[in-house]
């Protein structure tokens, strides 16, 4: 009976369902959105097509700069010739497998620790081991690897190093500062407030500048830490102040009742903070925290003013090579893609992490 009824039902008109229906509903819902659709199509035609033509159809993938100059499209052979310098900087050419290996290990480790199910003390030790291995492989001087000083580290390696070490050290430091700011002891509170406001009151570029130009003048000759370490410390101190403020936001969002309840079941201050308050607070602030991580990664490009060769700077340096002058677009597109890859994956991951850690919200564990 129900079958025959279904047979006699009129099907909805073809313009209401399927892809046609979707187009009609979403792109031409009323005259205004119809107009916008046409405007967008026109823009895509005007911008997208030439971009495609430039980047793919007319592009050059091999040959020298002179071959490229004759062509109208992108010159990707510029990237092919220079990518090793852009990625690894001054790291000795024959030894560049070492930073490549380190980046591979690091990215692999990220994949392993992607899922919170695997988070454990063991994984933490795993990371410590990985950091030691990376340090040894990069620096050498052990196990038959030649010693390579950090003044030749550059390119993507340096960008990742500054960002990862910066974030890893700044995060706990930021949490401590945020807790310190909430402290009942006036001295600690004052110190933390002063630190946070002082650092947030100056731009990163001035911190880097002070670390690189002024610090050596104050310290006695020979006691100056090397340039990379100075920049790294400046980045850590800077990011920590911002993370502290983000975490403070999370701490303040925790209802008073949680504190009282923790006290009522007899938890000490440390336990209360560690088991009840921080887990909730840190979860709430995942999105702004990741924003700070992303901006830390991008801010590392400011080290150009103290003449460290990060990803952007190595790309710029290849541009001044007389053999390859005039291919700035290709270089910047290449670098932008790399930055985008890292920043976008961080952003996506934060969304995922949020939903995994909040079963009460989405239920999509």
């Amino acid at each position: 009976m129900t079958e025959s009824e279904n047979k006699n039902d009129l099907k909805p008109p073809i313009t209401e369902v399927g892809w046609l229906g979707w187009i009609r509903k979403n792109l031409f819902g009323d005259w205004f959105s119809g107009l916008l659709t046409f405007a967008c199509l026109y823009l895509i035609w005007k911008i997208g097509f030439p971009a495609l033509q430039w980047a793919v159809l007319d592009s050059h993938w091999s040959g020298t700069a002179d071959d490229c100059r004759g062509a109208s499209g992108a010159c990707w052979s510029f990237v092919r010739h220079n990518y090793r310098f852009i990625l690894f900087g001054f790291y000795p050419y024959e030894e560049q497998w070492r930073p490549a290996l380190c980046i591979a290990i690091f990215v692999g480790m990220l994949f392993i620790s992607k899922n919170p199910i695997r988070w454990s003390r063991k994984l933490l030790y795993g990371w410590l081991v990985v950091f030691v291995v990376i340090a040894v492989v990069m620096r050498g001087g052990l196990a038959g690897l030649s010693r390579i000083d950090n003044n030749v580290w550059g390119g993507l390696t340096l960008t990742l190093l500054l960002a990862v070490v910066g974030i890893t050290l700044a995060y706990p430091l930021g949490i401590l500062l945020a807790l310190g700011r909430q402290s009942r002891m006036p001295a600690i509170k004052m110190l933390c407030v002063a630190y946070i406001e002082l650092i947030r009151g100056v731009p990163l570029i001035s911190l880097l500048f002070m670390a690189s130009v002024m610090l050596p003048l104050f310290l006695p000759e020979g006691l100056v830490p090397d340039k990379l370490l100075r920049a790294q410390i400046a980045i850590v101190l800077f990011a920590a102040a911002y993370i502290a403020e983000v975490v403070r936001g999370g701490l303040q969002a925790i209802p008073r009742g949680q504190y009282d309840a923790a006290q009522a079941i007899g938890l000490s201050d440390v336990h209360r903070t560690r088991l009840i308050i921080l887990p909730q607070a840190l979860k709430i602030v995942i999105p702004p925290t990741v924003s700070i991580f992303i901006s830390t990664l991008k801010d590392t490009s400011l080290v150009v003013i103290i003449a460290l060769f990060d990803l952007l700077h190595t790309a710029k340096a290849t541009l001044s090579n007389p053999d390859w002058l005039g291919f700035s677009t290709e270089a910047y597109v290449f670098v932008a893609l790399i930055y985008f890859l890292f920043c976008f994956s961080m952003a996506r991951y934060s969304v995922r992490l949020e939903s995994i850690l909040s079963p009460e919200k989405s239920g999509s564990v």
């Binding site: 690189s212 370490l229 440390v270």
Partner: protein, 350 residues
């Protein structure tokens, strides 16, 4: 039962730990700077040389990350003179603001970063300059279609210039001095500035002559552009060292001069071994066959021989980095030994 410390005490402890560890790291991570520069370089086993972060022809990384350029070669030459090996040099790229601090704080042993000698730098900034390694000066480049043969014909021209530099000030001085007018097009980034010029936004582009040559090298038809003969400023570029170590200044100076003298006496990389038998006393002294001039400087007696053997004379370095075989195609001009019409006049080595 465990005893828990209050979070505040823990925090204090952690902060102290942090501060201490930063101090410890900073005290242990850098090498100690012991007395005289030469001894420091020898005991360290390499020279620390401050260079530009990327200036074609002077100091620039090639795609393999190896430093190329006239300045880079001078760094290597000093390494050869002091340590006998051109690879024993650590290049430390420095920005314009960083360079003097880096020298004063002993982060570098010598600064070879296309630095113009000025009175203020020489006297007030605690540094001493060696002999000039390259005479640069501000010039003009125009399109050939403009049919301009001299800067004096540029009255009323639009000129591309980068803002806030001595270049801009020199330009204003020059035109005011000649009673001419001009319209300036001011763009911050060098890359965009040169693109604006080659796209025809200005009649003329002004910068240091070596930079003009570098800009010209990038266009499709470099022969369409013409660098005018007038040079309107003096930019003598020289290596610099810290005040207070005269022996080190002597070594840097004589390294520059040795390369120039080698060219003057026609000693180059190819013929140097046969030159050891030369009867010319000047050559004999330079190559350490006669006399103990290296030892007087505190170096190996074969110091100059090693420099030319490994790097060539000044002319070879010039041709390799700036000359006609490179994209820059700079002519020798003033940077030619005095006996061939230039102003490189190295004092006698005796």
């Amino acid at each position: 039962m465990k005893i828990y410390i209050s979070p505040n005490i823990q925090l204090k402890y952690l902060l102290t730990l942090l501060i201490n560890s930063i101090l410890v790291i900073s005290f242990t991570s850098s090498e100690s700077y012991a007395g005289k520069t030469l001894e420091a370089v020898k005991s360290r086993g390499h020279l620390r040389c401050g260079v530009n972060t990327g200036l074609p022809g002077f100091a620039m990384a090639d795609p393999r990350g190896i430093w190329r350029g006239l300045d880079a070669d001078l760094c290597r030459a000093i390494a050869v003179a002091t340590l006998g090996d051109s690879s024993k040099v650590k290049f430390i790229p420095l920005s314009a603001q960083q360079r003097f601090t880096a020298l004063q704080s002993a982060e570098v042993d010598v600064l070879v970063r296309n630095t113009t000698i000025t009175l203020q730098r020489d006297a007030a900034m605690g540094m001493n300059f060696g002999p000039v390694n390259y005479y640069d000066g501000q010039g003009f480049i125009v399109h050939k279609d403009l049919k301009v043969k001299s800067a004096l014909e540029l009255d009323g021209a639009t000129i591309c210039v980068s803002p806030g530099t001595t270049t801009e000030a020199n330009l204003a001085d020059y035109f005011r001095g000649k009673g001419m007018t001009y319209q300036s097009v001011v763009i911050e980034s060098t890359d965009e500035l040169t693109q604006a010029f080659f796209a025809g936004r200005c009649d003329c582009y002004t910068a240091d002559a070596s930079a003009l040559a570098a800009a010209r090298a990038r266009v499709k038809f470099p022969h369409d552009y013409h660098i005018l003969p007038e040079i309107i400023s003096k930019e003598p570029l020289a290596p610099a060292v810290r005040h207070g170590d005269d022996q080190w200044l002597d070594i840097v100076s004589w390294t520059v001069w040795a390369m120039q003298l080698a060219e003057e006496y026609d000693i180059n990389r190819k013929n140097i071994d046969s030159m050891l038998e030369s009867m010319n006393p000047n050559v004999q002294r330079l190559l350490g066959v006669k006399g103990n001039f290296g030892e007087i400087l505190g170096l190996d007696n074969k110091w100059a021989y090693n420099i030319v053997k490994q790097l060539g004379n000044y002319g070879e370095s010039f041709e390799r980095n700036l000359g006609n075989k490179t994209k820059l195609k700079l002519s020798r001009g003033l940077n030619q030994v005095w006996s061939r019409g230039g102003i490189l006049y190295a004092p006698p080595l005796r």
